[in-house]
Symmetry: D2
Amino acid sequence: MSMNSFGHLFRVTTWGESHGPALGATVDGCPPNVPVDEAMIQTWLDKRKPGQNKYTTQRQEPDQVEILSGVYQGKTTGTPVQLMIKNVDQRSKDYGDIAEKFRPGHADYTYHLKYGNRDPRGGGRSSARETAARVAAGGLARAAIDSVFGGIKIKGYMVQMGPHQITRENMDMAHIDQNPFWTPDAQAAKDWAVYLDELRKSGNSVGAIVEVVASGVPAGLGAPVYAKLDTDIATAMMSINAVKAVEIGAGMSAAMLTGEQNADEMIMGKNGPEFTSNHAGGILGGISTGQDIVCRFAVKPTSSILKTRRTITKAGEQTEIITKGRHDPCVGIRAVPVAEAMMACVILDHLLLHRGQIGINQGKIGE
Amino acid sequence: MSMNSFGHLFRVTTWGESHGPALGATVDGCPPNVPVDEAMIQTWLDKRKPGQNKYTTQRQEPDQVEILSGVYQGKTTGTPVQLMIKNVDQRSKDYGDIAEKFRPGHADYTYHLKYGNRDPRGGGRSSARETAARVAAGGLARAAIDSVFGGIKIKGYMVQMGPHQITRENMDMAHIDQNPFWTPDAQAAKDWAVYLDELRKSGNSVGAIVEVVASGVPAGLGAPVYAKLDTDIATAMMSINAVKAVEIGAGMSAAMLTGEQNADEMIMGKNGPEFTSNHAGGILGGISTGQDIVCRFAVKPTSSILKTRRTITKAGEQTEIITKGRHDPCVGIRAVPVAEAMMACVILDHLLLHRGQIGINQGKIGE
Amino acid sequence: MSMNSFGHLFRVTTWGESHGPALGATVDGCPPNVPVDEAMIQTWLDKRKPGQNKYTTQRQEPDQVEILSGVYQGKTTGTPVQLMIKNVDQRSKDYGDIAEKFRPGHADYTYHLKYGNRDPRGGGRSSARETAARVAAGGLARAAIDSVFGGIKIKGYMVQMGPHQITRENMDMAHIDQNPFWTPDAQAAKDWAVYLDELRKSGNSVGAIVEVVASGVPAGLGAPVYAKLDTDIATAMMSINAVKAVEIGAGMSAAMLTGEQNADEMIMGKNGPEFTSNHAGGILGGISTGQDIVCRFAVKPTSSILKTRRTITKAGEQTEIITKGRHDPCVGIRAVPVAEAMMACVILDHLLLHRGQIGINQGKIGE
Amino acid sequence: MSMNSFGHLFRVTTWGESHGPALGATVDGCPPNVPVDEAMIQTWLDKRKPGQNKYTTQRQEPDQVEILSGVYQGKTTGTPVQLMIKNVDQRSKDYGDIAEKFRPGHADYTYHLKYGNRDPRGGGRSSARETAARVAAGGLARAAIDSVFGGIKIKGYMVQMGPHQITRENMDMAHIDQNPFWTPDAQAAKDWAVYLDELRKSGNSVGAIVEVVASGVPAGLGAPVYAKLDTDIATAMMSINAVKAVEIGAGMSAAMLTGEQNADEMIMGKNGPEFTSNHAGGILGGISTGQDIVCRFAVKPTSSILKTRRTITKAGEQTEIITKGRHDPCVGIRAVPVAEAMMACVILDHLLLHRGQIGINQGKIGE
């Protein structure tokens, strides 16, 4: 019932606020004997780390992970893994104005109403800093997938910034790690740089769309309803702050397709069944088909901006607000490693669930 | 960990297949002393019932609900409510061909692989019939909301069929119940009738987009991460079969907005804080603002169509398939009452959760 | 979070009241392809069935189970199994006096306070009838254990009635099914018959101690804390109504042992490690050792008795009560098949959990 | 599904090993605005702290708690509270022999089999050190009970050491904190000191029985089955390592009572209903009556003893073992504050659950 947990068998509970001493993830249910150390997890955290270029918040956080439990002599023990990240650069002077005023589009207002005890120095649990804990947990999930099951690759990238989409024909997965936007379209990376620079200088921010693909996922993961693989992926992505929509495969566009167009035809290939298309995004009836799992989600623009907006105070008075401070002009950029991490957690969780209930797939083709 | 359950405190577990003797919902955690009877729940089931017009499957199912437990003398007892619906019209002869061939775009293939024991007469748990149980549970949730909390209205409607969107200016909520498509746009209803008739006659099907709005929801429901109100709504909608995408508020379009555009400004109204817009869909930082909760989702077209598609057999041979039988040309139509039901379950669940952890909102405005 | 569910991966939710139309168990997470039918489950229900002799309630209930879902062509499908048992003999006239008065030692009082909507004709969810649903679920669990894992035997029996214990030296497991008390001590069965007859005629009732042993359980099931195998067994047994205490292995007597006495020594046998004793009850550090799992629990005497007791009315007035009607003079007798069922559910659940997280044991002896 | 979590709405997940850098509790679902600080929680940890006298392990651990999240300006925020305790005195040289041999009666063997990756320096998660995290979480639970609900007192004490029971007539609650055994019987304290000294010097250990009482708990907490208040208390206590049995009220002795003896009669007192006895231990039908909640449990003797016992090695060879090192001669002593903590967690959890589902009691007496 936990309100800060995620997953069935591989269960992640994150804790910590943006301006407290530390944050982290308590990870329960990881298989034992998975080789993992802080350096392996740090690799993923370094991708999400703020302050790496002018397109992300200038807050300087080393985001150094410490493994406090659950790993002995470089291998998981099968008991809870505590992944802690200390907060270092909490520069609180930046947040003065927010104590009494609510930022429009921000959790300030609802957080205050519900809990009545809000740290005005930052977004508390609503801060994007919470996602560091997810990335750490995702690093562990990746290690477990590789060690116990193997053969699965998870890759996220940006496909749209504001109104500017990538050109699918330009996609080159090797390019993703070569630009600050994690986009596979080299030309888009150049265009977005100009676009975002201008926005940033004007004190504005913008939304984005991120796509995550998991390939090599075996058929059979998931369930027909409720514990559908796509439901759990949607849950995972929507649980990231600032996400407003999630799509699987054809997504919203599925509404525009006819049954004839949408039905991914099957042909019998040399190595087994193949599909001629993937509108399904690798999931049929909530269960993986063996095709690439394809998910997209929209991240809204950061609400902490230098533009003047009307708002109210805690005292109930009309006022205006400009949010100074260090913020991401396009928080979608840093959502890329977060999305990969969440996908890794979901896939591992369902690998374990499937093994628990079913063992191995019960039905065969051609036997 | 249940794979067929939904909700935290108001917890719904559905059971039953499309071609078994019955299906239903086991509902745990309902508050006691909620006035409810079979007739109240039947009202909602009748909206979803198949065979009501030529635009839905011709399967004749009365979908008569029986309350087997948890209600005494017209009021809930606070213990599990069992809502059972007998299957009546299982005409199995229609399904002959499907036993050995997989319908492209259908759960047949994955269901077979995972479980190895699939009832070829129907979709098993992947059938849209499963959603009858959701509607019954949703009817109970509505009764509990009205009785214990009050003031909340939940309304769903279709906003797009295939490529044809409604015109937002034409929206008249009173019109929703006046046409077979549950759409608030009278002109769209006429156009869609022509469009769908043609598709249906050609043996094809089409996708749709459904919107659900919950108004009167108090501020403070939800949590900053994981148990976000929007996460649980997304989970609820994505768990419905055939759903491929879920949006909250601006949804995928949030990607195209700047922070300035997206930030719903606040003004101090006579009766408290007001917002000048609702890009947030009534949820900020995972917690309700008091504005309308707005959700949309895409339903893919039915995969059981009269069009010839390439596929394979269980034996692994290449073949083709045409699916005869009774199917919905646009299953999105019947998704409308299902979506309302899921929204009702989520809202009630979060009302109970909030009351459990917080009691009443801890923060005030203007005090 | 369900308040009427049990288990992690093999998850049982029971529903239904003693005087409603039916009761049952919704079982989620059962492995697919387990051979099972109504007759197999009926075998276990028939052991628990009331009215079989003068030592149990004279209520006549056939307790006929109907499988409404999750089984196709004699095998589980891997989706929820609904096990329904209709109530037949609800003879409500017996319960007149209880509507306004609380039976001392009975749930009447607390049920009324909490829910405020109590069916005075019976104990609602607190009735021993609820345990029929457990026995049905346990029958399914046994079938799954046998089919998927094998080699495990679960046996329950009475070891004490009132002050009268069995003589451990007299134990003959073959005798258990030969007497109405499910006791392995033939002499005790004779003595108890005389003792209970007298009690029954005097309108009194008495408590009992039941022991359940699971043999053939592989080492490695459970976890060091919280999801300890002994914790889940204790939870299972204590969740049965009228149970007031649970013991594992030496149980309460462990308090009297020294470390030297309590430590079950290990010797290396031909077929692997052996233990010279089993104070641990087959569980060390929450994890099964491979020895017999041994559990005992105490059932309090039925509170519905013909003896006059002081009590109060709903109106708050002092009064007395004698409970007429059909009740078990020693409800512990019928707890035997219930306890076996709960043990089966726990063992299957942990077999699945272990397979999910660990696969197979990661550590070896002598390799 | 977490294997290291406890509770429904107030949910505690503990993490950390006896010889890692730290351990702690991640507590989710605590109500906001509860006044709490490290000093308040430290009070309870100091009661459990090892090395306080010659009757507990000589390991020197300050057990200093750090609150890493969920508290702002001395009040809970309603988001996860991370309670961390660093390990200080891990003196690993003491554990040399245990790396290759299994201590009889200890989790060594099962832990090794299941996980295959065991830190031989200590008991890992099976160590009594894990209970420090429980005590910290219990301290938070107490603060929340006091602040949000009030009027509840929880007290634990030892009632038996080895074969030596307290004399109930000698009980003086004021005496509990005046002796190293947390016993309310001054004479027993003296006798036990002599008894335990002798045992300790001989290198042996002994079991104990602890009793915990919660008074002032309102009627109505719990549920008729599964989420019974007594089930959750049993689960809580049995989840503590070394516990082998749990009793509620009359406990195992309930088996010996007749219905007439067991039924706690009710009389109408000045301030409402009263009971003439409390065999029920304050719980009827799984729901609190308003009487004292009474629970007892047995702790087995420490298995790490200086007595020679036969055992085997990891290599599968027969051998003997003597466990040197620092261990508790009667680990039951330090179980007292742990049991109080677990009771506090259960009571708070059920207060929140009851408020969530029911609000306030729905039934009244005399209205």
